[in-house]
Point group: C2
Chain length 333, copies 2
Amino acid sequence: MSNKITLAHGAGGQMSRQLLDEIILPAFGNSTLNVLHDGAILNLQSPNLAFTTDSYVIRPLFFKGGDIGKLSICGTVNDLAMSGAVPKFLSVGMIIEEGFLIDDLRQIVQSMKVAADEANIKIVTGDTKVVSKGQCDGIFINTAGIGQVIEGVNINPHNVKVGMKVLISGTIGDHAASILASRHNLELNLNSDCAPLSEIVAEVLKTAPNIPTLRDPTRGGVAAVLNEIAEASNVEIIIDEASLPIRKEVRGVCDILGFDVLELANEGKFIAFVPESEVDEVLKIMKSHRYGSDAAIIGEVTKNIKGRVGLRTSIGSVRVVDMPLGAIVPRIC
Amino acid sequence: MSNKITLAHGAGGQMSRQLLDEIILPAFGNSTLNVLHDGAILNLQSPNLAFTTDSYVIRPLFFKGGDIGKLSICGTVNDLAMSGAVPKFLSVGMIIEEGFLIDDLRQIVQSMKVAADEANIKIVTGDTKVVSKGQCDGIFINTAGIGQVIEGVNINPHNVKVGMKVLISGTIGDHAASILASRHNLELNLNSDCAPLSEIVAEVLKTAPNIPTLRDPTRGGVAAVLNEIAEASNVEIIIDEASLPIRKEVRGVCDILGFDVLELANEGKFIAFVPESEVDEVLKIMKSHRYGSDAAIIGEVTKNIKGRVGLRTSIGSVRVVDMPLGAIVPRIC
């Protein structure tokens, strides 16, 4: 096999098969995928499922704390977890630029395997296209995921009620800040938080199955998620500036480059809206998990100005947290 | 709204929401999608499902007989149909180049809606990324599909048996030949055959639920599909040159440009392996459907040289049909 991807690798013939046999199946192979039919035949325990997709176009492809492969698994696993589902099955669609290094592809595929194994999700179907040099930028990966909805759980962004508390599972902004630092050649001891959240979420939902909504603050960050939920549930959400868990390195990146940490993408954190009576227990569970050690209560749901998100500052005033306008950090995921 | 896609449309903030509200939801909107959560919550009738994905990178985006939008629905619908499933739910992941015309996006989205409506499949979750000018070529679309496996049907490329007949639902090579003609500025009365096959397949499977395998000959064409199945089922497949339904315009394109029609991609045809006792009935059903009027028996399964595909020519000799090497027509789907 040559050391670079060629157009023939995407043409559905002998070279496509070679790519499959030498790179894809050795990493992802399982009895379902190995059938190599147009679609995978699957069985769930019940017919209630969650379904989600994301395309990943992050740059650089390899970054501190992960790469596009790990991200493409964790991002979709996390969306299933946020839907109150146990991740079960994944599809993988890759679009690769002619000339892409086979060794880089091998490394990305290996990262996908490791992340999928950790999240206990099976890659069961896929597709690879190759486009000419200059027609895409390296590699784009789409994953779609199917999860089994946990019985008794009903996650819906419209169901948040006044009086509930807002919890976050850890420090905010780590992913975007680490990518920004690398793009701007800032030397920092900072990793992306990219991680699969399905296990910690399942533990939380076991204790508090009536949590109305969960959301991972990826593109658009905490600001976008809270605005969407404030609008969907027609409530006000007030968060306390002093309670936000933020690494000093992330504050530094924001200060130097002029970003609002609330708008930065996270790839291993989730926000939960929790009825007050269950807050202590949920916080304890989060903190006892390796992906939740910095969990915190960051705010509460009120009713003063419906659809609004406010940030209570250290001097006690409240400033409005707007929905980000967009484009603050392109190709962050 | 401006008339071009900007990076902000992919950033997860206000502009992303505007794109969703003005372009995506008016076309695709349904009670599941409109929840706008990280994942869609779905119910099937039974927990037996088919799952598939494809990325679409076709060029040109708009072609005779369809566009990338129609193709991105039909291709995945057809893969579900080939799995013996009734298409139910789709995810849509779009990667769009900065500067892409909003009007073109609107037209593509409209084509997707029309095709999804025809195939009776619901778009329930999606994602849009925007990359800078020059980092992708216009628009790439990934769809992943979930189908409900038809009870009693068990499609598997490993189950083809000696003595079965090979049927095709219509003329071959129309899609690739029409794309090639347009790329080479050949003026021809020839359309892509891009169409959703779920209805005709369901009718066939109702009559012949014990059909062992179905396959749509897309990339790599009839040659690739037959070779894959000959290998998977460890049989020989012999097709008759004289029986192949081929339009004269397609023959012309092949003659002029030097392509083998057996290697050309189709997007609205399927191959069925049928037990001899059911061939007449299946052929009748195919021919009575608007997408099967040119259906034909094109060959049979034998056991002479296992794993081989042969073409019996008009003079009675048999030439080997190899697995295509690859790259004959890049970006054909």
